[in-house]
């Protein structure tokens, strides 16, 4: 058995059709305003975004992964930290609803970001439901447009990944989406941007690990309020303004 599930690698692959290409993770709004023009600027933007906007999706993905792991698999290696007293497992839409709402209140300052998250969640749910059929993903369908991080976490669980890996996966997509958008919008050197992505990924490891720890505590306590709440006010304002402007390449 491999130590890294192949399904996790597929979920991390931007070639998996999941709707991410239509979103820049706030990069286009920065480019439009001249706040991001070069590789040097991106060098400054990535760690800032990792520190301010990564913990919320990472925490939600890790929590969803822990929740979606069937009780029978919880005792295997990586789920010893999941101390859920009831062994409850969200195999109904109702079971997911509070965790989905927790995503909305953490993205409260920008309806545009909530919409983008739900659009990408719906797209990924179609793909993941076909790739890794599972009761948890089926149950998420009852929400119609669940938040992207929840679907990502539930899909990661179905693909055999751990909550910590799901958190890293969410941060990986945040960095990758920003880098891809920056290359497309500014024609930056893909080699240089690749190096920045690797660096940002290294810096993001403690953020992902911290978010996963918080998520496991939240799941153990059955309390979504314990999930991380970090945000970025300028990113929120720009997301709203971007959403209302016309002739943009990316939806967010």
């Amino acid at each position: 058995m491999t130590s890294v599930p192949m399904g996790l690698l597929l979920l991390a692959d931007s070639r998996l059709p999941a709707g991410g290409h239509g979103h820049s993770g706030g990069i286009e709004a920065l480019v439009d305003r001249g706040l991001l023009r070069s590789t040097d600027d991106l060098h400054a933007v990535l760690p800032a975004r990792v520190r301010t906007t990564a913990a919320v999706p990472a925490g939600a993905a890790a929590a969803a992964c822990a929740l979606a792991t069937p009780p029978s698999r919880r005792q295997e290696s990586h789920h010893q930290d999941t101390r859920r007293p009831d062994g409850g497992f969200p195999d109904t839409g109702q079971g997911w609803r509070r965790w989905d709402a927790a995503g909305s209140v953490r993205m409260a300052p920008a309806a545009a970001l909530r919409d983008a998250s739900r659009a990408q969640g719906a797209a990924l749910l179609r793909t993941a439901g076909a790739a890794w059929p599972s009761p948890a993903l089926d149950a998420l369908r009852a929400l119609r447009r669940p938040h992207h991080a929840l679907v990502l976490g539930a899909a990661a669980a179905a693909a055999g990944a751990t909550p910590a890996q799901a958190a890293a996966l969410a941060v990986h997509h945040l960095i990758g989406g920003a880098c891809t958008a920056a290359v497309r919008l500014l024609g930056l050197d893909p080699l240089a941007v690749g190096a920045l992505a690797a660096r940002a990924g290294r810096q993001a490891e403690p953020v992902a690990a911290g978010a996963a720890d918080a998520a496991l505590a939240a799941v153990a306590a059955d309390d979504p309020a314990l999930l991380p709440t970090d945000g970025n006010p300028l990113a929120d304002v720009l997301a709203e303004l971007h959403h209302r402007s016309e002739a943009t390449l990316f939806a967010s």
Partner: protein
């Protein structure tokens, strides 16, 4: 650990817990409070108090809290006598300011203290936690400024947590640091020194300042022209957003004067719209 900067006043760290309660009463509301120096409370109107910081500060190491209770049918307006100036303290560590407010059925809380200014070398942790009854309302205004004129400013971590009828409405934490090149860079605040928020939460309530009745949904709703829902002007970028629950939020980022002016303009917009 390096030696912390000396406190400007030289005093030791303080812990203080104050309480404030608004009760409905025939004719006029009644306010009760227990102040805890240096958190001083002054009644300045039938349903209004001003907070005063009595010892210069808060300083690093100080831990102040205020518990607010607005009983069913009561209203309360909270202001401050001046900006809160957070400075490093001899005790080191962050200054803490925690506010917890409960607003009962039909009650209304209007929370609008002056700016919190975090001076160079200082660290502030603040938390504003508000629980509203299903029929209560609140307007919460907060303005954080990094540094005095000519300063880059210190560190501020602010949490805003609001529940309506037991359901979370917003849970948001903002970390700002004027000395952190990453957080003040283009992926953070892009050099802005001020962040302001104006949260209009809950259902129908009484308008602040004017006393006129105001439905929450009168505030810059989705049907309003785009120019009233957000924009960019010299010194400030701002946007209103609809929350998933009952409420709306304005976020403004930019220079202190422009952000403060934008909050003031937006706070009075509903009353203006009613008159026209």
């Amino acid at each position: 650990m390096s030696a912390p900067p000396a406190a400007p006043t030289g005093r030791t760290a303080l812990t203080a817990a104050a309480t404030l309660r608004a009760e409905p009463a025939a004719g006029r509301p009644r306010l009760r409070w227990s102040q805890a120096w240096p958190v001083v409370i002054r009644a300045t109107g039938a349903d209004r108090v001003h907070l005063v910081h009595g010892a210069g500060g808060p300083l690093g190491g100080d831990d102040f809290s205020l518990d607010v209770e607005v009983l069913a049918g009561a209203s309360l307006r909270v202001r401050s006598a001046a900006a809160t100036l957070v400075q490093p303290g001899a005790a080191g560590g962050p200054a803490r300011w925690g506010v917890a407010a409960d607003v009962g059925a039909g009650g209304f809380l209007d929370w609008a203290p002056e700016a919190t200014v975090v001076c160079d070398g200082a660290t502030m942790r603040s938390r504003l936690r508000v629980r509203l009854d299903a029929t209560a309302g609140a307007v919460l205004r907060e303005l954080v400024v990094l540094g005095r004129h000519g300063e880059r400013g210190g560190r501020h971590r602010g949490e805003l947590l609001v529940d309506v009828a037991g359901e979370p409405l917003i849970a948001h934490t903002t970390e700002l640091d004027g000395a952190d090149e990453v957080l003040r860079g283009p992926g953070g605040t892009a050099g802005a020194r001020a962040v302001g928020t104006l949260l209009v939460a809950g259902t129908a309530h009484t308008a602040p300042h004017t006393g006129t009745h105001m439905a929450t949904h009168a505030v810059a709703d989705a049907a309003a022209p785009a120019a009233e829902r957000g924009g960019e002007a010299p010194g400030v970028r701002w946007a209103w957003t609809e929350l998933a629950g009952p409420g709306r939020l304005l976020v403004a980022v930019g220079e202190p004067g422009a952000v403060g002016a934008q909050l003031d303009r937006q706070a009075s917009a509903p009353a203006r719209a009613q008159r026209s």
